[in-house]
Each structure stands twice: as C-alpha cells, then as structure tokens.
Subunit: 339 residues, 2 copies
Amino acid sequence: MAKETKVTIQDIAREAQVSPSTVSRVLSGNAPVVAAKREAVLTAIEALDYRPNVFAQSLASGQSLTIGVLTQRFGNPFYDGILSGILQALEPTPYSPIFGDGRWQTAVEKRALQTLLDRQVDGLIVVGGLSPEAEMLAYAQQVPLIVAAREIPGMSSQCLTIDNKKAAYEATRYLLEMGHQHIAHVTASIYYHGPITDVYQRYQGYVQALTEAGIQPDPQLLAEGDLSQQSGLMAVEKLVGRERPFTAIFAANDQMAVGVRLGLYRRGLRVPEDVSLIGFDDDHNTAYLTPPLTTVRQPAIELGQAAAEALIDLINGRQHTFDTFQASLIIRESVARRR
Amino acid sequence: MAKETKVTIQDIAREAQVSPSTVSRVLSGNAPVVAAKREAVLTAIEALDYRPNVFAQSLASGQSLTIGVLTQRFGNPFYDGILSGILQALEPTPYSPIFGDGRWQTAVEKRALQTLLDRQVDGLIVVGGLSPEAEMLAYAQQVPLIVAAREIPGMSSQCLTIDNKKAAYEATRYLLEMGHQHIAHVTASIYYHGPITDVYQRYQGYVQALTEAGIQPDPQLLAEGDLSQQSGLMAVEKLVGRERPFTAIFAANDQMAVGVRLGLYRRGLRVPEDVSLIGFDDDHNTAYLTPPLTTVRQPAIELGQAAAEALIDLINGRQHTFDTFQASLIIRESVARRR
DNA sequence: AACATATTTGAAATCGTTTTCAGAATAAGT
DNA sequence: ACTTATTCTGAAAACGATTTCAAATATGTT
C-alpha cells in the first residue's frame, strides 16, 4: 500500500556533505552549526522533501511530542468545548494530542489512561473524570499532568476549574432579584455519578443565595437528575407532582434545562410567563431555545487552551500561573420578573 | 518528573532465561515458542510489570499502531457522533486514534493531514473535509484511507456515506403527504462551504419530491445559510420578507432547524400550528425542542464504527464490504397536517 | 608566534524493539 | 539407528534518529 521511498537523515547528510549529527543539530537547533553548512542542510532537506521519522526521534530523545487527553463521553458540549480549545492551542506547537474516552466508567477510564501512558505521552490532560484522587496523584508523579474541570486536593496548582459555587450563587441571586421566592433546583445525583463536585458546588451556591436572602431551602423543591435532557424532563414531573408552588427553576446544566423546558411545555406551563428558567454551561444551541435560555457561560474553549498551554509549560519545566476562569451570567429571555 | 525505572525486553529475557528474540516472539505471537519458555516469559513480564516501548516497536516494525482521524470543526454533533463511533470501535483493538481538525479551511486541513502523515499513522479516516478530490486520491496511494460522510469519485469503495438524496426525498414526501404544498427549504451555500455534496444532495431530494408531486420548486422558497443556527434564524427573515406564503420548512440540518424554530417564534409563528418544520441529523438535543423536532436520523455512531472497522480491515489487507447506511425519518411533533 | 580557550564537527554509542539468518533441538520417516 | 524434515532458538543486524565524546578548527590573548 505505502509506496514512499524513505528519505533518511543519512541521505540528507550525504547530499549536504556533512555528518548525520550535523543534520540532527540543525533540525533540533540545540547546538550551533556554521551558517554555510546549515544552508546546505536546509536546501538538501528541501530538495529531498525529507521528513524525520517520529519514532526514531522519540526513541532516541525520549520525547514523544505527544500529549494525552482523557475526556469523558465524547459529545458532551462542555467537554467538547474544552477539547476544541486544547486542539487549537496545540496546533502551533510540535505536540499532537492523542485522545482517550473514559465514558464516565472508572474501569474504562483506567484502561484509557494506561493506553495513553503506554504511548509515552509527554504530558497528560485529564478532563473531568472519576479516578480516585490517590490515583491521580500517583499519575502526577509519573508524568506532567493537568486536570481540567476538576479539583484534586493536593495538586490544585495543576487544576483548572471554574468557581461553580460562585456562579451558581449569582444565577440564583439573579432569580431572587427578579422577585422569585420559590426557586426549584434540578441537580445531579452524587451517588450515580460519583462525586461530581462541580455539580455539588452549584447546589451549594444555590443554597447560599437562598439562605442569605432569608429563605429556607425547601427539599421539596429539589429534584435529582443525571445531567441528561431526559432527566430534566422527568424532574419537572417530580416537581409539579409534589404540589409545592414554584415560579422559577435553576437547572445544574443546560442539557437538563432543555429537558425541563420541554417538561414545562408538556404541562402547558409557559416560559418565562409562568415559570422562569435558568441553566448552566451555555451550550451552543441554548441561545436558540424558545425562548433563548438565560444561563451561565463556562469558558470551555478558553479553559482548554489554558490547560494545553499550562501543560506545555509544565513539560518544559517553566513556571506557569493560570488566569482564573470566571463564569458569567448570560441574560437572555427565559427569566421574567415575578409579577 | 518521570521516575519510572524502565523495564526493557532485555530484563525480561534475563529474568526468563531466554533471548530477547524469544520474548519478542511471545509478545507478538508471530512465531512459535515452546510452552515452558512462553510461561517463563509471561511470568517474568508479570513480575516486572513490563510494558513494551511503543516507539521502539514502531521503529523496528514499521507499524505505528496509530490511526489518524481528520475531522472538521470539533463540536459539530453529527461529526462528533462519528468520532465517538470510531473511538468505540478502536477501543478493543491495539490501535489508538490521533486527531486533527481541519476547521473547514483547506489550508488548515492540509496541514493537519500532513501532521497525521508525519506521525506515520497506519491508516487514515477523513471525516468530511474540503480537500480536492485529486489530493484525496493521492493520499489514498500513500496510506490506507477511509472517507466518512463524503463521496470521492474513483474511490467509492473506501467511502461511507448515507443516501442523503433519498432521505431528503422522504422527508419532503412526508410533508407533502401531510398536505403541505408550499414547502420552503433552507440549504447551505455551495460557494461558501465548497462542494458539500451531502447538503446539495438533500436539496436534490427536496426538488425531486416536489417535482414528482407536480409542484414546481419555487426559488423564492429557497434560503441559503451556512449550517449554523444563526443562519437558520436569518433564513426565516429572508423567507417571510419575500411574502411568498409557505406552511412548512425543511431545513438541511438540525442546527439550522433550531435557528429556524427561534426565527418563527420571534415572528409569532407557531410550530406546528402555523408552520411545520423538519430538520436533518437528529442532533442530541433536537428531541427536546419545543415542540420536539421531526427530523432525519443519520446513524453517526454506527457510521464511525463501520469506518474504523473498515480501515482496520484495509490495513490488514482483508476485504471488507460495508453495510449501507440508511437515514430514517424520526417523526416527532413539529409537523402538523395542513388544515 | 605561541598558547589557551571557545566553537564546530564527525565517529560511534545509544534508544528498545523486530526480524533475518543460521544453527540446535526435536520429531518424523525409513 | 540414520537421514531428513520440522520446530525452536539466539546472535546480530536493522530501524532512524539523538547525544556523548573527543578531535579539529577558529578565536582571542599575551
């Protein structure tokens, strides 16, 4: 199948009348070469259309120029945004990303991680994930590691997160300011998903805002889903079934918010006239719901880029400090002032 | 940073009292080894927790056990579905995927492809893309290549596509059967996006259904977008601005359909009471629009899986025939019978 | 001009496997 | 028991770079 007449560094050396070592030096640039020879080498490379063999390079140098990215469940908009950012940030660098998918299953995640490690990635970015903290710390010993969208105690300098509690607090405050008193919250079960701390933090933000406003959080106004649209739909059923009046719903992510929106439609409840709705994530399509969804924007792409840049700095032993990432409330049309 | 005391094949050889060659043989299994020694090797591997160095393997064998995947614009739900399928299908194999993103820009795509090739992928899956057909054919000479979601003349046996024309035909027929006569179509500009043949085929299917029903396709009922939600929104503006009455809209993809849906909402047009709407792709969230969108489901994940399997067969010189992929109409609630 | 020092260079070792080749061990055939 | 096949096996040569080391050349000082 492959036809390629392989051009090796030897060929270049011969063509340019120098030794292979010299060719290697001009290639890597980590040792000086006199201008004339450098020129000769460069033209030879050009002439023969030489492309170094990555494996030989990696074997000899111990660097793979590859970075591993572990994600969860390809297709989740927030995570995909992060991946997209990573891809973009890596493009101008010599590093190529290689992906694994943990699918929110500890065993799968572990295998995927091992595969990545076996490929001797120079660094690893783990996006979310369920691996026990101890394991993560162990990995961090083996390889430069950045964790995105998850906070691991003991390696916080390598974790990029968004202040979920604060963002949820502000979202809830906004509802309060709009005159809502009975605010339901759709969250995700901690038992089902493992400790998805960001979802829990959002819950905490919600509670805090309520409490500060002198409102006692009502467990009857809490519904648990699993982050899917379907579960948002069912959450509405639970909520209205309980016959506790509410005028607003804060969903812990946009996917559930979308389900909630449909659930309300099914029940003949108008948004925002009867019930106000607020989501979290700013998924692509969320701006095109009817009505456009008020939500909390998470800077996913920026987060991905920052993660990639931080990792490269880490690999090269450079010091890196993160920008902190702030989520911001995107006010659209799904929240109305309570009359 | 990395601490690892490298265990090499030599260590195993010493431990098991055999030669490295023998160890290699039991590892690869492509030469017989007597049971006793095989056992010894296996236990040695176990004991020392040996993991072969991929680069040395690749260098020596000429196989990278890596397959390149070129996608366009990470974050597009249909493409992401394909990627997800590829990832799944590759998981049980020794191959790992490495990704590149062409971003729907010819130059970027070319560079991404070159990067993939430089990494000596054993095979390549190109999802969509803009590369001229001649270039694709050239790549196909260099490396086993599968193209998903695009048809390249001259290598159709390596292309997996869905019969877009037929699917669009059926979608349009469905609208006709529901009594609609004035059916608008939101398509994508061929000039902007290059020859996205699948979108063009959808247009053809639309025309065919209309013509067969004795209806002359009206250019005033055609609006061009760029596949984005935003462009769907604007398409509605164009359409109503032309003051040509219509009772149904067929959008060439779900993202535009979502935009269309919002556009109609803005105009105070109800779906489906005033205008029926049908999309194409069956994006995740499309089932949770209000009302749930009737659309055409493309089996993205299955397509991705099939692509990966086909590629592996191709790499190993096995013959492979594809299942054909049929899109199917998903009837939900955005289409009503014309009264 | 002579010496010390700094800069460039090439030869050769190395990275950790696979694979070829030929010899050793075993099995089979008469 | 003696060839003749047939399995197995190890030594050594790839694979295609990088990197160490020491030699060669250039530069600077006195």
